[in-house]
Symmetry: C2
Subunit: 217 residues, 2 copies
């Protein structure tokens, strides 16, 4: 590994913005720090990138570790933005490649309640102080999520395999903070071609049960 004056050495990390929707609220996974700097504050989960590890693989490793499931399969994962301000980490010059992940709440709940240091914080109402520049990273992730919602099947990554159109609308409303017109939303979603009806219906409702949909392959 060669470094020199013209190739100054950097530490490269990945930070993971793992979002989910529970109780109609968009939340982000945060981890309580125990070490300096920012000890005691909440931070995004992350880690150093290995010498021979691709960036995506590092992000997937962090995801699999925190979400406690193999390889983070099925989760939405995409690179978000790279933060490299010289002052962002007081210890050393660090460049952090932020990744953006989505997971259904059910698949995350067990891992979060099992780990002492993990919490889900509502994105619309974050703790006043977060470690590093993580508040800015979360804001960037929320912007990306809102921006892509209508062009990519992001919301489906936040729902279980089978879901009703009401569930889907609740996810959209939790992300944007705006309430939507029901028939228009239904039409728009069906027209995207991202979902298909299963023929099954939800159970244990005290009213007419809605049809269950699933992602199209």
């Amino acid at each position: 590994m060669m470094t020199s004056m013209t190739h100054p050495p950097f530490a490269v990390t990945v930070d993971l913005v793992l979002m989910t929707v529970t109780a109609d609220r968009l939340t982000v996974l945060l981890q309580r720090r125990t070490a300096e700097p920012f000890s005691g504050l909440l931070a995004l989960p992350g880690g150093f990138v290995g010498v021979d590890e691709p960036l995506d693989a590092a992000a997937r490793r962090v995801l699999a570790d925190k979400a406690a499931f193999a390889q983070g399969e099925g989760a939405w994962l995409e690179q978000l933005y790279t933060f490299g301000d010289p002052s962002r980490d007081p210890r050393m010059r660090t460049v952090s490649v932020a990744y953006f992940a989505l997971l259904p709440a059910e698949e995350l709940a067990a891992a979060v309640s099992a780990a002492e240091d993990l919490t889900l914080a509502p994105v619309m109402d974050l703790p006043p102080a977060l470690a590093f520049d993580h508040a800015a990273i979360i804001a960037a992730a929320h912007d990306r999520l809102k921006g892509k919602l209508d062009y990519a099947p992001l919301a489906l990554a936040l729902l279980p395999e089978r879901f009703t159109l009401r569930d889907l609308q609740a996810v959209h409303e939790a992300i944007t903070g705006k309430s939507l017109n029901k028939p228009a939303f239904r039409r728009r979603m069906i027209d995207t071609g991202w979902i298909e009806p299963t023929g099954e219906r939800e159970t244990a409702t005290s009213f007419r049960p809605a049809e269950l949909y699933r992602r199209k392959p």
Copy 2:
């Protein structure tokens, strides 16, 4: 500067995808390499990030250097994506933060013809072999450009201060490769609120001169 087994040292570079439109073609600035690896091939201009240099500043430095104008003011510049595959640079583990820049052809022409090693290559018809993963980076930049064209005033960054609606349409068509309906395009652009008429008209046409528009502040 602390590095260790758990903080392996990386080289961090910026690569610049500087695009412009000349003769109704979208082109990208490339530089002929004289050193190994990939000596003799064309590559994106780039450079190592300084120890105390913010990423954006490094990109602006490369831009100002190649485009030969102070600080790259006025040019559109945004971070694109970060490429960090372990095999992307045979010399060492390098992470490259790619930036995406737009400049009017007039402001670039002098610098390009003055420099022996710089060329503008058409994006739709790139040389078959480029250095490193630069073909993929250019493809990502082109995708970003196409994707944002309707939501952000990107095309205006490719035009001089005063331009006709015909010029603006030509830029859109060069980027997307699709021809557009003229009245619809005109209406759409005026409705964005990004531009305003100057009251002046183009000169030296052999037909009815079009009104000159400019960016709104």
